[in-house]
Symmetry: C2
Subunit: 200 residues, 2 copies
């Protein structure tokens, strides 16, 4: 018995990341969407996911819907909780990218330093993508009525109203979602992904 079981402790190896990329036809990546509430992050993320999936990409979206009720259910919206939330998402996104996926994250992520920390979790494939609609446009859209509530003081620490948004100083890509249609924005994103992450 003892002899048979000794080899259980042999060192096993992880799958080579190149083999994962070859299997998928593209590299792993973190497409980190940042922008105000109402800028279109989630809509664009989910539509981009659909288009990439239909082209055979290994792709997944992390957003408030699947993170805030689970992984970050213990966190609120204070500065320190937001920072911890973004830190965890950065680490999870890095795991997905390490598994070969293109992961799209759709979170306001208002602090530059938090986004920089997220980049450090997967520096080789992290791209900061500014979904850029200004406050006036977002507040006019107000799809969930959140700005109205925030203006009334019913939502504390609301980004753009009662909490700061630090726009990216040097984003890898900017999508002018305040002026472009969804289709136009998606075309920019699709072109970017195909140029940047598809294996030649």
């Amino acid at each position: 018995m003892a002899v048979k079981s000794t080899n259980i402790t042999e060192v096993a190896h992880r799958i080579d990341i190149q083999a994962r990329w070859q299997a998928n036809g593209h590299r792993g990546a973190v497409l980190w969407f940042t922008g105000l509430s109402g800028a279109g992050k989630t809509t664009l993320a989910l539509e981009l996911e659909n288009r990439l999936f239909n082209k055979g990409f290994n792709v997944y979206v992390l957003d408030g819907d699947n993170v805030r009720h689970g992984l970050s259910s213990d966190l609120g919206f204070s500065h320190s909780d937001r920072t911890e939330n973004i830190r965890r998402i950065g680490e999870v996104a890095a795991l997905f990218a390490d598994a070969g996926a293109i992961v799209i994250t759709a979170f306001i992520s208002p602090y530059q330093s938090d986004r920089e920390q997220a980049r450090q979790a997967y520096p080789e494939g992290f791209r900061e993508i500014f979904i850029d609609a200004d406050l006036e446009v977002c507040e006019r859209r107000d799809p969930k009525g959140l700005y109205e509530k925030a203006r009334k003081g019913e939502i504390p620490d609301f980004t753009g109203i009662s909490a700061p948004y630090e726009a990216p100083s040097n984003p890898d890509l900017t999508v002018d979602s305040g002026d472009l249609t969804v289709d136009e924005s998606l075309q920019i994103l699709m072109d970017y992904v195909e140029e940047t992450f598809v294996l030649k």
Copy 2:
């Protein structure tokens, strides 16, 4: 401009999980390995990952190496920190399964209640797999010299020595890694995955 951008808030849809399963040829799943240090969890997880990947599965391993330095870098080994660590891993594993992957987790996860909580994050595809080698076998192997250190009191809260291990009361699968060879253990695991998660 305002007209063009109004449709950004249309509801976008997530990819249907059935479409992900079809693309992969298998369902998403969480294979939750539990067992003592030295029982062979990581070795079997990584070897299983290799074999499944080579058969075209979308598969990924979460273990101490890629979780403890990142997502759970703020946590230690106290009971409450272990519980929070396992909670996070359960949530991340559920995200991977939701993305269509078979994710294998290799953590001691000594508390039954923690494992039950992890199951709740993805009940439909969670399987508790007991990597079963008893303390005597694991301590004799002691691949990393941890038991020796724990016996000397150099590692506090070491499972099996100075912290409890609650063996699964009703695991979905038991692999008798104390008696079986690595190859025999892997064959059991491969058969289980293929029978349970491959689409007919």
